[in-house]
Amino acid sequence: MNTRWVGMVLGGLFGAVIIAGLYFPILKQRVKQTAKIQPQSEEQARRELTQSLTANPTEARVNAKLFWASNAHDGSLAPVSVELPLSNEPALRAKQVLNTLLAGPADPELRTLPPDAVLLAFYLLPDGTGIADFSEAMASSIPSGIESEQRAVDSITRTLAASVPQITRLKILIHGQEVETLAGHLDLTGSFVVNPRGAQAANSAQPDLLTSSSIRLEPPLTPASTSRQTYAATREQPTNSR
């Protein structure tokens, strides 16, 4: 009984080894093939990205300031001038600079945003509020922490401020949804100030533009408050909470 069992098990194992031996070269070939395909598709993706930037030959090439992490590794940001063909249409221009920011600097250590994050859409409301909709990787791949999350948002708002003066505030969505925090710390329920002066001008020019919708503009900011990265909740406030 026992020897028969051992025989059967050994026979089965022997068969498995032979099958594995036959299958191994096929598997190896497949791995080689996929390895060949991958760099191609990456290159393609990059080409698509640059193509979208150079889609219109009439777009003037301008020096755009992109804010990535500084070489000092102290958590601060440093502007890098990159010559880009940028559209004159603010929403498209914002998309172009954000895509370049997402593509990352020459030194990957100085990235501020996760490499797999994608900008899904960018909208610009008439009052100057920009809405950037990022893929889920923006929230899931970013290193969790107050410093890293604040730096990511700072790099986005400062890059937009440098290239698209029409944007006054920025609201960040993740996969089309409003989320409470970016990765456990930074508040995304409100909007971030991009161009404080523009916010003031837009406010005085069109004060009641969006009062009917859920987004409401804040009163002008004082110069003292604009010196820091400023944050404001744009939710409608409940009038009788208690």
Partner: protein, 286 residues
């Protein structure tokens, strides 16, 4: 830990292949699972009994410190009496995770223990937003501070970035007033409860950061501003303290920082004490 040991035992027994051992192992596993479930539930319930209801005065709030300086007076001394300590994350939310398996949610609990000791040594009462591996919501944590009189809120974090061995203090970024500041009812809107306290938060943050910078080289000299969700709904001087980082190779490097961080926070809060005047706060709690 207990689960791991017993599981390993079970596997060993199952591997012997003998039927009786099989059953014995399975029964042991069931027993272990039942025991752990029961103890886990009681562990989760325990801290809630320590969370004081809003009506409880601060003296009774903390059962672990029965003989504090305030115990002989029936009413709390005006000014700063209490520190609400918030070990961030917990439960399914691990927070920052290092490559070496270090979890922010676990480390902050250890730090909280040291900070608590240092604060109690300075005569403060301490309430923690969580005592074990659970995850109260942002609002639940804020509510614990908002229900207290004369409290400050200190949220503890461990980052995934930054120079290891440094500590940064953060204050909520400016919250510009809507509809002229306070609501017509005179109440502070929950969504922006931090707004009237920002000035005091900056003061507290600078005191704590100053003390941290002395102990941890490379740390900034003053508190920084960031849009931190936890602080926005907190109606008290509130700061977040972030220690760098979960990316250290050895967990001991972080453990060694804990007493220094506790001491610096306790000293910072003590330095801040004279600046804390409830009556002077616009929209301050009664």
């Amino acid at each position: 830990m207990l689960l791991k040991v017993r599981n390993r035992d079970d596997q060993r027994r199952q591997r012997t292949g003998h039927n009786s051992f099989h059953y014995a192992g399975f029964t042991l596993f069931l027993l272990a699972a039942t025991f752990l479930t029961v103890s886990g539930q009681s562990g989760a319930q325990a801290p809630t009994t320590q969370n004081p209801p809003a009506s409880v005065t601060p003296q009774n709030a903390n059962p672990q410190t029965p003989n504090t300086v305030f115990s002989d007076s029936p009413r709390p001394r005006p000014g700063l009496n209490l520190v609400v300590l918030d070990p961030a994350h917990g439960g399914t939310d691990t927070g920052a995770r290092g490559t070496g398996g270090i979890r922010e949610s676990e480390i902050v609990l250890q730090f909280a223990l040291q900070v608590r000791r240092a604060l109690e040594a300075q005569g403060f009462q301490v309430i923690q937003t969580r005592m074990a591996n659970e995850n109260p919501s942002f609002d639940d944590r804020s509510a614990m501070a908002n229900a207290q009189v004369g409290a400050v809120f200190v949220s503890l974090h461990v980052s995934s970035t930054g120079l290891p061995g440094t500590v940064r203090v953060y204050v909520n970024s400016d919250l510009p007033p809507t509809s002229g500041g306070r609501e017509a009812s005179g109440l502070i809107p929950w969504d922006r409860a931090q707004a009237p306290f920002l000035f005091l938060s900056h003061k507290l943050g600078d005191f704590v950061q100053g003390n941290l910078a002395v102990r941890f080289r490379g740390s900034p000299g003053s508190a920084q501003a960031a849009a931190i969700r936890q602080l926005r709904t907190t109606a008290a001087p509130a700061i977040a303290v972030e220690i760098s980082s979960v990316s250290v190779n050895d967990r001991l490097d972080l453990d060694r920082m804990a007493p220094g961080v506790g001491d610096a926070i306790a000293r910072g809060v003590t330095d801040f004490r004279p600046s804390y005047v409830v009556a002077g706060i616009p929209g301050g709690l009664p």
